[in-house]
């Protein structure tokens, strides 16, 4: 079983601040996905990163995949209340038939 650790577990910040959350594994990722889950809903995919060192941007969100493909980070610039939610990383290993999820970072952005 893969073990994905996310940090911090909880994060509460003021609107306009920047933040970074992390996803780490003891194993090499085949690929890594980031999802956001809002209360009462299922997770929704934000991005997939595949190549070590890859950086992807989605508006104010920047996703980075570590060179060794064992870690990833999500940086949010000028956080807004609409960014509030549970951020989950997930990975699938080569040959696996399912996706393993991390424990999540619960972000609250205070207006």
């Amino acid at each position: 079983t893969q073990l994905l650790e996310q940090s911090p577990q909880f994060l509460s910040i003021q609107e306009g601040e920047n933040l970074t959350v992390y996803c780490n594994s003891s194993s090499v990722f085949s690929s890594l996905q980031w999802y956001r889950q809002e209360p009462g809903e299922g997770p929704v995919l934000l991005v997939t990163v595949v190549t070590g060192g890859e950086v992807k941007k989605l508006k104010r969100l920047t996703f980075q995949f570590g060179d060794a493909r064992k870690d990833s980070s999500l940086h949010i610039t000028a956080a807004q209340p609409g960014d509030t939610g549970l951020y989950l990383c997930a990975e699938t290993s080569t040959g696996a038939n399912n996706l393993f999820f991390g424990t999540g970072t619960r972000l609250t952005v205070i207006p």
Partner: protein, 114 residues
């Protein structure tokens, strides 16, 4: 598009009761999954299916059963409900598990066993 539809949205069971959580998708996806999410936690895989007639266990299968008679439907059965099964259950589907394939999730079923 409906995507992945789960029913019911909420349910309360007594210990020892049985129920079936329904899941259907209209995207003709081969892969379907059942996850449970406990408060403040990520998702744990219960069962998954790679196509009609084929199912396999995930991380936490005990106390659950599944079937996949059609591509569209993937019901999850709880035979003897226990308090430890109080959770939010999510069904998901994907076309495959290629490295950049995304999962589509339903909106969840909140189950309480009292």
């Amino acid at each position: 598009n409906a995507g992945v539809t789960q029913t019911p949205k909420f349910r309360i069971l007594k210990i020892g009761q049985s129920m079936t959580l329904q899941c259907t998708q209209d995207m003709n996806h081969n892969y379907m999954y059942w996850y449970r999410q406990d408060p403040g936690m990520g998702l744990k895989l219960i069962y998954y299916s790679v196509g009609a007639g084929i199912t396999d266990k995930g991380e936490v299968p005990n106390g659950y059963n599944v079937s996949r008679s059609t591509t569209e439907d993937f019901p999850l059965r709880l035979e003897l409900a226990a308090p430890s099964q109080t959770s939010v259950y999510f069904c998901a589907s994907s076309y495959s598990v290629a490295t950049n394939e995304k999962l589509f999730f339903g909106s969840g079923t909140q189950l309480s066993v009292l």
